[in-house]
Symmetry: C2
DNA sequence: TGCGCATTGGACCACTTGGTCCTATCATAT
DNA sequence: ATATGATAGGACCAAGTGGTCCAATGCGCA
């Protein structure tokens, strides 16, 4: 992929995460990516919409590198991985100083009702995310109560994190996210079978 | 307050909850409220911004009627009230068929970073909401573990509900919200002191 | 040398945005 | 009778929107 293209995508990603999709104009993106003019932009993207879709994809891939990779890590106890994943979400949010949360949550709230194309794509993002957590829970099932509903629990985790990121943004206070993350871990721990021990943390002791 | 004013506010509230604040134009509101023209609108509101603020206030008051009133209900066991409150949020969402969630969550995601005026007002809404839950938890403290942190727990409840509403909107599936609501109740129940019983449900048996 | 893509730069398009201003009509309360 | 506020309707504004088109340059690759 050409250099310019990614440059445009990066600039757009920043702007969209700051101001939302509708409030980010093509001219803003052009300024942000230091292009010479409209023709230059439309040389790479056929419309603003297409730009948005590609930004969404890229953002997901980036997030996948950091967040989902942790969920898949084969050498660590699955439930331990889940905690690390939650920590990663907190860390990601910290980087922007508590502002601009998960780019998916933002776009979801902005466009879920208004723009079907985006809604479907965001749904797919959440689904891949959820399925990764589900398979992790499946892997951890020896340590979990028999009645744990992986579908429901995975949704709960995502919802709690998205909600936490949103509140953190509104309150401009990272400790909100930290507190919720800690509670979420406790909620997950609630599903652990009595007497079950994390396999890896035991080895480490 | 004049009839027209509330008519405009109602139309605006609907439009904003459907398409967001930035994507709702003054002309849209004028059409929605069946006004004769711009001058008619600006006869009642000095700017679109002011309109937005008043819509936010109204929406909060309306929500307060339904949701917060339940939290205050003096004749019901506090923890039972909390469950009823969660049910009310689910019911509210059901009315719009799983679409357009909490108007605060929507506006929060859209404007928290971009528009300080809205951010502050939304923060105030969440705070009043949280404080109502906090005082409920305080009331319920005889039934709760000593180490329950009311501030954190109240935030967790709000975050989980906001996140749940968001996911429900994205997935266009009300059962998502219902599942998360059920899990949230279980999480709250986790904080109940061993042997404690809900005062009122006992009376009813 | 020439082909094709990348880049530059700007004119231009129809349309929408929030907002102002002006005039005129109508009812109601003083 | 008169002032006040609601209603109506339209002209107008500067600025911004996404998007098109064109002409002229680079620039490397065959």
């Amino acid at each position: 992929m050409s250099d310019r293209r990614t440059q445009i995508l990066d600039a757009a990603a920043t702007l969209i995460s700051e101001r939302g999709f509708t409030s980010t104009s093509v001219d803003d993106v052009i300024k942000g990516a230091k292009l010479s003019g409209k023709s230059h932009f439309y040389h790479y993207f056929k419309s603003k919409e297409e730009l948005g879709y590609e930004v969404l994809n890229r953002q997901f891939e980036r997030f996948a590198e950091r967040g989902l990779a942790i969920l898949r890590e084969p050498m660590i106890d699955p439930l331990e991985r889940l905690n690390l994943f939650i920590d990663a979400v907190v860390a990601l949010q910290s980087e922007s100083g508590g502002r601009r949360g998960s780019p998916f949550g933002n776009l979801a709230a902005e466009l879920a009702d208004a723009h079907e194309g985006f809604r479907v794509r965001i749904e797919a993002v959440f689904e891949r995310w959820a399925s990764q957590i589900r398979s992790l829970l499946w892997e951890a099932r020896p340590q979990l109560h028999d009645d744990v509903d992986a579908v429901r629990l995975s949704r709960f985790i995502i919802a709690a994190l998205e909600g936490a990121v949103l509140m953190t943004r509104v309150k401009r206070d990272l400790s909100v996210l930290e507190g919720i993350a800690a509670d979420l871990k406790r909620f997950i721990a609630m599903h652990i079978r009595d007497g079950a021990v994390m396999q890896h943390s035991r080895n480490l002791e």
